[in-house]
Symmetry: C2
Subunit: 399 residues, 2 copies
């Protein structure tokens, strides 16, 4: 088998090729997508242009092709004997690719048919099952370390058993959907994914000389080609976008991160890189669960002067349930929503997304500025994540 250093060098080279290939393939497919009517309207432009949708499928396929070419190089018969074959590592790679490929397929189907929510939750869970079996046979650690401050209650560690597998299955569902619902302006889906991937990349490099080197090398095998295809896609999706990436890309990116987190056994660190997504998800919950009325689209709105302003939802306080009232009260108390009261009963508040609350806090702004601000936030959160992961972790754990 080729050495880890050398194999990373190879996948780095293949990733550069995948970057170039993506850059050249996307323009070739734009007309194909438009004539197949796989397209959407860019609502944040005055001319409302029709853009080709679902370009995640092009990047995803180039990602798969890169991995398929990398596999026989990594496990070439010339450099590795059948007796010494690293079965564990190989099955991890194949099961990961299977989960990712399934999500690409599901995402593309979702873009075309607009699946129901239950399918979006059900299918990623199933697609992560082969991966969980691999986790069971290769790693099978379901023990969670308890922070020092709580050890007098729970002990040093707790074995979560089957609950840990349920947690990992939910992680796959969370990652795929969290990126998807934190979208709506040009460049944001791909931009956030590239920053998360870069964060994972830095984390892998830091941990490369640590005890769990193997899982970080595996992570690099996926992160590098992902960065290759995604940074190419970002150029076309950045303001003013020439293509949309679709649910396909969000599911693809989300499952990739979930796979890496599960097999790399660093799901907590991964969730730290997902802070904006976690916030956006929790913040959206009152609307997603219909405690507070949820319109079909919650995107910001384009004003006549060409900037974006938050979108609002209007409702009567007596039409929402008690839980809805409690959510509304809490959000208002912590100044997390902007509320306009028409009278004692009718209210109007911003739709509960990170996009809208950013526009509430910083005021209306240009689309490109909004994307840039949110990506800056993502970078700041990566900084926070590393601070929690390294200096602060010693307050809670014996590092």
């Amino acid at each position: 088998m080729v050495s880890a250093n050398f194999s990373i060098f190879i996948i780095f080279g293949l990733s550069i090729i995948s970057y170039i290939l993506t850059k050249q393939m996307i323009p070739l497919f734009i007309n194909k997508f438009l004539s197949a009517n796989i397209s959407g309207i860019d609502v944040h432009k005055a001319s409302k242009p029709k853009l080709p949708e679902s370009f995640g499928v092009v990047t995803g396929c180039i990602f798969l092709v890169t991995c398929f070419i990398f596999l026989p190089i990594l496990y070439s018969p010339g450099s590795i004997s059948v007796e010494n074959f690293p079965h564990n590592e190989f099955v991890e790679m194949v099961a990961s690719l299977l989960s990712i490929c399934c999500m690409l397929l599901l995402g593309f189907i979702d873009d075309i048919f607009d699946l129901r929510w239950r399918h979006k939750l059900f299918f990623p869970t199933l697609a992560s099952l082969p991966l969980l079996i691999v986790y069971h046979i290769n790693i099978n650690s379901t023990t969670v370390l308890i922070p020092r401050q709580l050890r007098h209650i729970f002990g040093v560690s707790v074995d979560l058993g089957i609950l840990y597998y349920i947690y990992m299955g939910m992680l796959a569902v969370f990652c795929t959907n969290a990126i998807n619902i934190y979208a709506g302006v040009n460049g944001l889906e791909v931009g956030q994914s590239v920053i998360i991937a870069l964060s994972v990349f830095v984390f892998n490099i830091i941990e490369y000389y640590g005890s769990a080197r193997k899982s970080h090398v595996l992570s690099l095998y996926f992160i590098l080609p992902f960065l290759g295809v995604s940074s190419s896609l970002l150029k076309y999706n950045w303001f003013p976008a020439r293509v949309f990436v679709g649910d396909t890309y969000c599911y693809f990116a989300g499952m990739l991160f979930a796979v890496i987190a599960i097999l790399g056994h660093f799901s907590k660190t991964m969730l730290l890189f997902f802070i904006p997504q976690v916030f956006n998800f929790i913040y959206s919950l009152p609307q997603l669960l219909h405690f507070i009325p949820c319109p079909r689209h919650r995107f910001p709105l384009l004003t006549k002067s060409g900037v974006l302003e938050p979108s609002y939802v209007e409702f009567s306080l007596n039409e929402i349930s008690l839980i809805g009232k409690i959510c509304f009260g809490i959000l208002q108390k912590f100044h997390l929503i902007k509320v306009y009261r028409k009278d004692n009963i009718k209210v109007k508040c911003n739709n509960l997304t990170l996009l809208n609350i950013t526009l509430v806090i910083f005021g209306s702004m240009h689309e490109e500025m909004l994307t840039t601000k949110l990506l800056m936030l993502q970078i700041i959160c990566t900084g926070i994540a590393f601070t929690i992961r390294y200096p602060l972790a010693s307050l809670f754990y014996d590092v």
Copy 2:
């Protein structure tokens, strides 16, 4: 681990569920497909109805879901310890599902965007690479037995080495495309696949008590749910079709057979079950390679009386190359084409497909009758295959 008998019982049960699920899901998706404009015209009906296309994607997804549910049952932690885990078998299943899932994705993309031929050849080859690595590490037999009559030249067996891997990669490309080009009348794509699957099923059962039991059990794990979803789909695709299955189904079915043949190490037997497809492929070659002019569609034509007649291609003998003339001459000598001569140079002959030559031989007939006749031929070929595989094999090999 659960016993082979018991696990076959479980997958049999799951396959029945997948049959029922497919039967109930297809009607739910018909309108979704039509409104997403994933549809095609049924040219062999007088009213030219628009039917939803690509239903292979529904059956393929249900097949994947069935397998994903089966995996944790088969390898449940309750019945199998981590130490005794059958890594080889598990990686075979996961790599097979990866290849199949990739082909589903490719097929669906092809249905929507009409890919070029080079993509159709390139992508299945790549998607079979993980499988070939699994073959290398688990089986790694590249030796072919030589028939007795030729042993004085080649010896008892020949080690094909890398050529054997190239052969297997080509098998994947062949199977996916052979089913696809042997299509064009209601029920034929699914019907041929169901008969091939049933033939494989019978072969697996015969060999179940043989020396290679493991690979035949693995084959049953895939063939049973495939039969479940396909026989359900056949009801909707049979004359008069309510849905089309698309390239998606052909690629899915083709890769499934290739996977089973490769890992089951019975590619020669599989090719015997593909006799009509092999004939159709070779017969089509002069047109596919443009030695003889090839129109965009080669389907039979609907006459005013409601029966199908062969479609023809017209050309001048002096516009085709020397190879074209040789092909034409050979086909004519063996009465494999019907030729109308307009003068010494201009000719008209039937398009080179099994569908058209059947209509030439038996005369024009109703669409349902044509499908039935061709499926009868498929069954007869299965009989021939078993005759060659069992009684006749002893003439050539020491059985």
